[in-house]
């Protein structure tokens, strides 16, 4: 056991402990089934972590007490409130009412089911193109060569930014959401990369107007007759890049990791293609990638926990989605699970706005993989590496398949 591993996880959990990152579920279960299902830690700036479904959902829905002033799992780095990009956040995920309403309403039509459906063809073509590159090798990194490369290109297509920059976008986003969570310098640097990039994209569109990309559409949005501020547009682009890349890629990666180890599930998907929509939901439940944070508005006692103003609360959606009070056999993947009220996309007013796009990408990425590579397995299960904290998913996942 790692010598950093705490003795009492309900009073000293560590979301960046290597064992927790690799597999957080035993710890989450231990906390959830203890007498103290809302754990607390002083680590990483301090936080509370509810693990029961009912508590996580209640906190997500109580947005007046549990605010979105800060939504990352560690405190913002010093300097974030100064400099040229001070005050640029990630609306609507970082917004509270009343602004939240128009912040969200502006982007929702872009992600409505009928609006995202048009990206199915481009996503499928992209998946085939990626597979073409490695199918002759008999092995591939399902995370790095495949999953990681899909959502970034879809979101870049939507935004109307250069696809050739996809690797840079990925590196910036990982700088904010992975390494940056425990390294303030890296986080600031990559935040500035992202915001500086979009600042330049806005300036370029002002000088050379375009017609049909999402950035242009956002810039032309009027609320109460007034054009929305540039900082709002930059903030939304920031969110779409950050939230649209790491999360979906993690979900695709975890699902492939699962399918590599479960030939019976690959067979089931071949035999019963009608279960695909349910299978996507079940994989989202079982391997929920995202944990969000909330900031407590004022001193408040929640389920016996004396929470103070400015305390951080982690919305541990992965823990909620394995709660046996809500899901039968929660640790088992049942692809055609009938009752699946999972909260992988959150709950309440901040429920993921991009869920329909994420579902589409996950389904198409898995379908295309299974069509081209029906049989595959992990080369070495102990060689799989994971990222965790805010977004959990495999970062290297070598698989082999028959040529």
């Amino acid at each position: 056991m790692d010598d950093r591993a705490p003795a009492d996880v309900t009073a000293d959990y560590d979301i960046f402990d290597p064992d927790f990152v690799r597999d957080p579920y035993p710890t989450m279960t231990e906390i959830r089934e203890s007498g103290c299902p809302i754990a607390h830690t002083e680590r990483w700036g301090g936080s509370w972590m509810p693990t029961r479904y009912e508590d996580v959902v209640a906190i997500a829905q109580e947005h007046e007490i549990f605010t979105s002033r800060n939504i990352l799992v560690t405190p913002p780095p010093p300097g974030v409130f100064e400099g040229p990009y001070a005050g640029i956040a990630a609306p609507p995920i970082s917004s509270d009412p009343p602004e939240h309403h128009w912040h969200r309403r502006t982007i929702l039509p872009t992600f409505a089911p009928q609006a995202v459906a048009k990206y199915e063809v481009v996503t499928r073509a992209l998946c085939h193109e990626l597979i073409d590159r490695f199918i002759g090798n008999g092995q591939a990194d399902a995370a790095g060569d495949y999953a990681q490369r899909i959502p970034v290109r879809v979101i870049a297509t939507m935004l109307g930014v250069p696809l050739e920059m996809s690797d840079e976008f990925t590196s910036w986003v990982r700088g904010v959401l992975e390494i940056g969570l425990t390294d303030p310098v890296v986080r600031m640097e990559n935040r500035n990369n992202i915001l500086g990039f979009f600042r330049a994209q806005l300036d370029d569109r002002k000088a050379n107007p375009r017609e049909d990309d999402l950035i242009t559409e956002l810039m032309n949005t009027r609320v109460d007759g007034e054009l929305v501020p540039d900082n709002y547009v930059i903030g939304v682009c920031n969110l779409l890049l950050v939230a649209g890349i790491d999360t979906t890629w993690s979900s695709i990666g975890s699902s492939l990791w699962h399918l590599a180890q479960h030939p019976e599930h690959r067979q089931q998907l071949r035999d019963q293609p009608e279960i695909w929509p349910m299978a996507v939901e079940e994989l989202l439940r079982a391997y929920s990638p995202v944990t969000m944070a909330r900031i407590v508005d004022h001193d408040y006692e929640f389920q016996g926990c004396p929470m103070h103003a400015e305390d951080r609360v982690l919305l541990a959606f992965p823990a909620a989605n394995r709660d046996p009070r809500q899901f039968q056999n929660p640790d088992e993947v049942i692809l055609d699970r009938e009752h699946n009220r999972h909260v992988a996309f959150g709950a309440g007013i901040h429920r993921c706005a991009g869920s329909n796009l994420a579902r589409l990408e996950l389904r198409v990425a898995l379908q295309t993989w299974l069509e081209r590579i029906p049989e595959f397995e992990l080369i070495d299960p102990s060689d799989v590496t994971w990222a965790g904290g805010q977004v959990r998913g495999p970062r290297r996942c070598m698989v082999r398949f028959p040529l």
């Binding site: 929702l108 992600f111 409505a112 089911p113 929509p277 999972h342 709950a347 429920r351 706005a353």
Partner: protein, 51 residues
């Protein structure tokens, strides 16, 4: 979710919010609509059975 489970009964508006397309669950869609009810993450769906 509901429009995936039971597209005869649920659709979505231009914002992606769920809308009900029919006043009464059509024959043959009962099971699908029950599934939509059981899977709504916001617990926003309640089916009422009429005698």
């Amino acid at each position: 979710m509901c429009s995936i489970a039971s597209p005869e009964v649920f659709g979505s508006d231009e914002y992606g919010y769920a809308v009900i397309l029919v006043a009464q669950v059509p024959e043959g869609s009962e099971a699908a609509t029950r599934r939509a009810e059981a899977n709504c993450p916001e617990r926003a769906i309640t089916l009422i059975e009429e005698g």
